[in-house]
């Protein structure tokens, strides 16, 4: 485990810094701490969702149902706070997390044990989860005034200049970093995604790893569901619609390989930050909102092409001289 950043992430990081500097030069307001912290707060959900998605992609999977999961879990948490305002906040948050976790478990079980292709499974659950929102909420929405005060207050609380969602994102990122780099299960995810056969020869149970990945993805989506709903003070079926692709895009920009087995916490966070800046900087820069989509599209493609080289299978370097050249 050497170095927090690898070469590709350094490129990304420097591009980011240059970009931020440029924006700041043009619009100093952007560099004010207030704005930075707002930007982080706005991006905190994306940070966590991207990390969770990365874990799934590491196993050669994909989870298209995260946004729907977020919306459903958020709705459930909101309903709890609406009908049982007296129960402690922790339990409300837990409702969201557990709900998300169960939904993830459902994905994981069918994917890992029935071998349903992840994209198919999550495409289906994407539709199902969204529909369930309408059903459980009786086609109604939950408004700010209906949610408990504490429920909404939490995401706004500021500690040491940063809002609680940012702190949560930081904590979650740390957990992911430790999990992926310092636990056998975490490394196992890389093994399974990198070379399933070899993983089997190493006594790693692919099914368990996959299940784990989707459960994690679900649980994080649940947590973010609460944060989202509480932050914007409303829960209904359409929230975060289409967000799944933003999340995947963040991973891709961060250098996570769709082929599985490649991806790092740092890279993914940078990828998410990249999109976060695009989303929050444009209004500040007074760039016509119509540019936002085109820009993020261009950014994604650029990042993918930069990563393209890494995707290739390396040469075998049979010629001794070739080998000598590459070794440094």
């Amino acid at each position: 485990m050497k170095g927090l950043f690898n070469y590709r992430e350094l490129i990304l990081a420097s591009i980011l810094l240059v970009g931020i500097a440029a924006i700041g030069a043009y619009q100093p307001a952007f560099l004010r701490w207030g704005n930075i912290s707002d930007m982080l707060t706005e991006t905190s959900v994306l940070f966590m969702m991207a990390l969770a998605q990365m874990v799934v992609i590491l196993t050669r999977g994909i989870d298209l149902s995260v946004a729907a999961n977020l919306a459903l879990s958020g709705m459930l948490a909101a309903l709890v706070s609406q009908y049982y305002p007296e129960i402690p906040l922790v339990l409300m948050i837990l409702t969201g997390v557990v709900c998300g976790l169960i939904l993830g478990l459902f994905n994981g079980l069918l994917i890992a044990f029935l071998g349903i292709p992840p994209i198919v499974m999550t495409l289906g659950t994407l539709a199902i989860f969204r529909g369930l929102i309408i059903i459980i909420a009786g086609g109604d929405q939950v408004n700010a005034s209906e949610m408990g005060a504490a429920f909404q207050a939490f995401p706004k609380q500021i500690f040491l200049g940063l809002a609680s969602p940012v702190w949560i994102a930081i904590a979650v990122s740390l957990l992911f970093w430790i999990f992926l780099n310092y636990t056998r299960a975490g490394r196992g995810l890389y093994a399974v995604g990198g070379n399933p056969v070899a993983a089997r020869y190493c006594g790693i149970d692919q099914r368990r790893q996959e299940l784990l990945a989707y459960v994690i993805s679900g649980a994080v989506a649940g947590l973010c569901g609460y944060l989202w709903v509480a932050r914007y003070g409303v829960a209904y079926s359409e929230i975060a619609s289409g967000y799944e692709l933003t999340v995947i895009a963040a991973c891709v920009i961060g250098g996570v390989s769709i082929g599985g087995g490649v991806g790092s916490v740092a890279g993914t966070l940078l990828g998410a930050l990249f999109l976060g800046i695009v989303m929050t900087a444009l209004p500040v820069l007074q760039i016509s909102p119509f540019w936002q989509m085109a820009i993020s599209g261009a950014v994604i493609l650029a990042a993918v092409v930069i990563n393209a080289r890494a995707e290739r299978r390396p040469d075998k370097l049979i010629l001794p001289e070739a080998r000598r050249l590459r070794r440094v």
Binding site: Q27, A29, F30, R32, G34, N35, D38, E42, R130, G131, I133, I134, A137, G139, D140, Q141, N143, A144, S145, K156, W228, R231, Y232, G233, V234, Y236, S237, E238, I239, A240, S241, M279, T280, L282, P283, V284, L285, Q286, P289, F290
Partner: protein
């Protein structure tokens, strides 16, 4: 029920439209012999809304009341319905004239535009930069209101209250919220924001409260008391306006009933809105329900109970 009226709105799970639907059902009860079908497509897009309308045409309902996801895209299907002898009117968000018989605006577009400018002017004492936080750039009613506002703005009394920006929150809470934050930062001495959309105003207000900007920046526009109550009390919003969606649904249904009973709808004709009185069909079949109703600290709480 011997008559069936379909009320097709932009999307389900939205309190505003639920309130409208309640109004429609109220009217149906009052009139008797009318069944209200309240439905919408999964996604708020013109394509899916058309599919839903097609299904209503297939059922040979007697009348269709639409809040359009896209004014122009719904014209063909509206025409088709009318060719099949189904009465089509639009409310809330209009279908272009060719695609419906009557459009019932909650209030005349100039009136709504002017009202919102006046409200922010009152709040700010006519001084300070103002921006507009709209919904999707593709929504006709939004755009026409914004036009109306700009008309009103031309008046001399607003010369110290320049319009500095128009941004779009796409009727998504997170995006509206970000756009609001962006506005504040891009325009350090921004004083007021007009958001003629219920989602925009609630997210904008939340951004103000969360950002600790209450007292510095004020938002107004079109909102629902139930959603705005807290922010009004918090002081992020001094006053906002809306028509009563329950009455809106009620009136639309009443007009539809009138049309179904064969009333003439030429320009100048009068249509009954039940206990809400009468409305006169203007050019392009535009009819107006009434004036937008203003809410503030004094009355927001009681109406919050209703819608």
């Amino acid at each position: 029920a011997d008559k069936r009226i379909a009320m097709i709105v932009k999307n389900l799970g939205n309190s505003y439209f639920d309130a409208c639907a309640n109004g429609a059902k109220e009217a149906a009860k009052e009139l008797g012999g009318i069944e209200i079908i309240y439905t919408a497509s999964a996604k708020p897009t013109a394509e899916e809304q058309i599919a839903v309308i097609d299904a209503q045409i297939a059922q040979k309902v007697d009348g269709i009341i639409v809040s359009a996801n896209d004014a122009d895209a719904l014209v063909p299907v509206g025409k088709k319905a009318m060719e099949r002898g189904i009465k089509v009117i639009s409310f809330d968000s209009a279908i272009a004239p060719a695609g419906r018989i009557v459009h019932l605006s909650a209030s005349s577009t100039p009136l709504i535009g002017a009202k919102q400018v006046q409200m922010i002017a009152k709040t700010l004492g006519g001084k300070g930069e103002v921006a507009i936080l709209s919904a999707a750039s593709t929504m006709t009613n939004q755009n026409s209101w914004i036009e109306a506002m700009k008309e009103e703005w031309k008046k001399p009394e607003y010369k110290d209250m320049p319009l500095v920006a128009t941004v779009y929150g796409d009727d998504q809470d997170d995006k509206s919220y970000r756009e609001m934050q962006g506005l504040v930062k891009a325009h350090p001495n921004l004083k007021g924001v007009i958001s003629p959309t219920t989602i925009g105003i609630r997210s904008g207000a939340k951004a103000i409260v969360d950002g600790g900007l209450t007292g510095k920046v004020f938002i107004t526009g079109l909102g629902l008391p139930s959603e705005m109550k807290d922010y009004v009390l918090a002081g992020a919003c001094d006053s906002f306006a809306i028509w009563n969606p329950v009455e809106y649904g009620y009136s639309s249904t009443m007009i539809m009933a009138d049309i179904l009973s064969g009333k003439d709808t030429a320009e100048g004709a009068k249509l009954s809105m039940g206990k809400k009185g009468e409305t006169t069909v203007g050019k392009d079949g535009e009819a107006v329900m009434g004036e937008p109703f203003e809410f503030n600290k004094t009355n927001v709480e009681e109406f919050a109970k209703i819608f």
